[in-house]
């Protein structure tokens, strides 16, 4: 009896400890990163670090601005490609596709999610980059803002990074959105159709209203994947620390900065500290977006239930 009780208490305590540990892990990591990046934070002002655009570790210049913008631009552009396409695909699969077609296409999309990032990277280098280097000068001459290009492009660019990233995000958004759409009760469609609505009207006015929070969640999940994705982007984005002014320019996102440089030339003063600050910034940006997304979701859900 005693032993049984003892085991129960012990198991309870242990699981509490495990749960507690995993939940504070994020804080531990943040604190560790903060401590390691303290030297550079003491040497430079935060404003200079975040808004400075020169990155010359040998001269002791550590401006993160190009990296932060690089990350935001690649992610944002990838979402611009991925969100409409994957939501439309999900709508097609859930609402229009015949059952047979759906049963064939969905597993393929799930397979897409299982391909290792480095393979996407190689595909990007072999297929996307050359394509962009061909079309960039043509489109670049038209003089459209953000699409300009002087004469020659290697193809390693913001655009290449976001195309590869978008394709990696597709399966997440498609498969979750498709499930969300299919979970919408049949009666809702029946109600709308029986009033003489077309299929598209039914989807737009009735089905989407219910599916909206779920699809928003899918997009947010896609977003967080895109933010942190390193390998594939690093291989095609060019990795030049400048603030991109056109989608054909190279960029240098934060994860690529860390992955490319950590562990090398660590003798440069403050270099180690600077890279860990980059990690901290990346983590905080992702945390911020995830929290914001959560808040939006809660808002949407509350509005849905209260009408």
């Amino acid at each position: 009896m005693q032993i049984r009780r003892f085991k129960d208490v012990l198991a309870g305590r242990f699981m509490l400890a495990a749960a507690f540990f995993s939940s504070i892990l994020v804080f531990i990591i943040a604190i560790a990163l903060y401590l390691r990046s303290k030297p550079i934070l003491e040497a430079k002002s935060l404003g200079d670090l975040l808004l400075g655009s020169t990155w010359m570790p040998f001269q002791g210049e550590f401006g993160f601005y190009p990296f932060i913008l690089g990350t935001l631009y690649v992610t944002a552009l990838a979402m611009v490609f991925a969100v409409p396409l994957s939501i439309l695909s999900a709508i097609y699969l859930a609402e229009y596709a015949h059952e047979n077609a759906r049963a064939r296409i969905l597993p393929m999309i799930d397979l897409l999610a299982g391909i290792p990032p480095v393979v996407y990277g190689v595909w990007g280098v072999l297929a996307v980059v050359p394509l962009i280097s061909d079309i960039a000068p043509v489109i670049g001459k038209l003089g459209i803002p953000f699409l300009s290009m002087e004469s020659y492009s290697t193809g390693y660019s913001l655009l290449a990074g976001s195309i590869v990233l978008a394709i990696m995000v597709f399966p997440i958004i498609i498969s979750i959105s498709e499930q969300v759409l299919r979970a919408v009760p049949f009666e809702v469609r029946e109600a709308s159709l029986s009033l003489g609505a077309t299929r598209w009207q039914t989807i737009k006015h009735a089905v989407m209203r219910i599916a909206y929070p779920g699809i928003a969640a899918a997009v947010i999940l896609g977003f967080s994947r895109a933010f942190g994705e390193t390998m594939a982007v690093l291989m095609v984005v060019g990795n030049v620390p400048i603030v991109p002014s056109s989608i054909f320019d190279s960029a240098y996102p934060l994860p690529a900065l860390i992955a490319n440089n950590y562990g090398e030339m660590m003798s440069i003063p403050l270099y180690d500290s600077a890279l860990l600050l980059a990690a901290l910034i990346l983590m905080l940006v992702i945390l911020f977006f995830t929290l914001a997304a959560r808040l939006i979701l809660v808002r949407i859900e509350r509005r849905m239930t209260n009408g």
Binding site: E190, A191, S194, L195, G196, A197, T198
Partner: protein
């Protein structure tokens, strides 16, 4: 008597299974037609053929003709949305759209091009009044429709269906999910509406068919057994199967094993007395309760069902009194 819907040689299949077998029958204009028959005989299938909602079922096929106003509904080339607009649907379970009460009723008119706010306001008010819901919701038109009681939701669905100005109202067991008071409410609205609309109602409840129907269609295992005016079919059925079906569902009326009068009792007590009365009965015997408390009409059958007994019928016998028939189970 003019036919509004003419059904000619209609066959319906779900995959290999034939759900309707060569049905040919007419549905008279501006009358209530009841489709009766045991579960699985194809009543809902027939209704879904009228407004082509059967198209949504993968693997369903329909052949034959269903002529409405000279147009063949089953013809692949017609505009389905127009067919559906002409037929309001009242489902078995109320299915309000995920939006406010107002938007539910305005949904159809908006789809069909009414954008004018004032006109929409008028439409919403008009049809909520016809459905007998206006007084209850006029102060909270903006609140979500799913906050209404089930009975109110069903009247909302009626208003929503009427707002697209159909000529025909299709009801698939419209009261089976409702409490007796709400059911009666819906029945009353339908009786009023038959002056202006052709109404088709699928029902399991033979009493309901007797109360409402002018014309009756009896299906059995996908076949048309009998059709005719309500008088002919109920008083003097030509087919033995119809007679058996009607008697079979009416038979529970005849023999009651015990009767308890709970008039004047309020809620927790009539419930307790009903329980006691059932307790003294043997399994399978039938108890008849008379109640006059409006909450009891809803709560007693619900409670008895929760206890595992079978509620056979609940019906109003005069202005104040309701008769509840319960078969002891368990």
């Amino acid at each position: 008597m003019k036919n509004h819907i003419s059904i000619r040689n209609v066959n319906a299949f779900y995959g290999e299974h034939q759900a309707l077998k060569d049905i040919t029958v007419g549905i008279p204009e501006k009358q209530i037609t009841a489709i009766i028959g045991p579960s699985g005989c194809g009543k809902s299938t027939l209704l879904k053929c009228f407004n082509r909602l059967i198209d949504l079922t993968d693997g369903a096929r329909v052949s034959g003709k269903i002529i409405v106003d000279g147009m063949d509904v089953l013809d692949g080339s017609i505009d389905v949305t127009e067919v559906r607009r002409r037929m309001g649907l009242l489902p078995q379970k109320p299915n309000p759209l995920p939006m406010s009460i107002y938007d539910n009723v305005a949904y159809g008119p908006r789809l069909h091009g009414t954008a004018d706010k004032k006109k929409l306001d008028q439409t919403v008010e008009k049809y909520l009044k016809i459905a007998g819901l206006w007084e209850e919701v006029k102060d909270r038109l903006k609140s979500p429709a799913n906050k209404l009681s089930i009975g109110q939701q069903q009247r909302l669905c009626l208003a929503r269906g009427l707002a697209v100005e159909p000529e025909i109202i299709l009801c698939d067991e419209p009261t089976s999910a409702l409490d007796p008071v709400s059911s009666q409410h819906i029945e009353q609205q339908l009786l009023k509406l038959k002056n202006d609309y052709t109404i088709v109602i699928v029902t399991h409840n033979i009493h309901q068919a007797i109360r409402l129907a002018d014309y009756v269609i009896h299906l059995y295992l996908g076949e048309l057994v009998e059709h005719g005016t309500a008088n002919e079919v109920f008083e003097n059925p030509k087919e033995e199967r119809t007679r058996a079906y009607i008697n079979g569902t009416l038979v529970t009326d005849m023999k009651t094993d015990s009767e308890v009068n709970l008039k004047g009792n309020v809620c927790p007590f009539n419930f307790v007395y009903a329980k006691q009365a059932l307790h003294t009965l043997e399994k399978g015997k039938i108890l008849k309760l008379i109640v006059d408390d409006p909450t009891a009409v809803i709560e007693v059958p619900r409670g008895m069902e929760a206890d595992g007994h079978e509620v056979l019928s609940v019906k109003q016998v005069n202005k104040t009194d309701w008769e509840i028939m319960i078969r002891k189970n368990e």
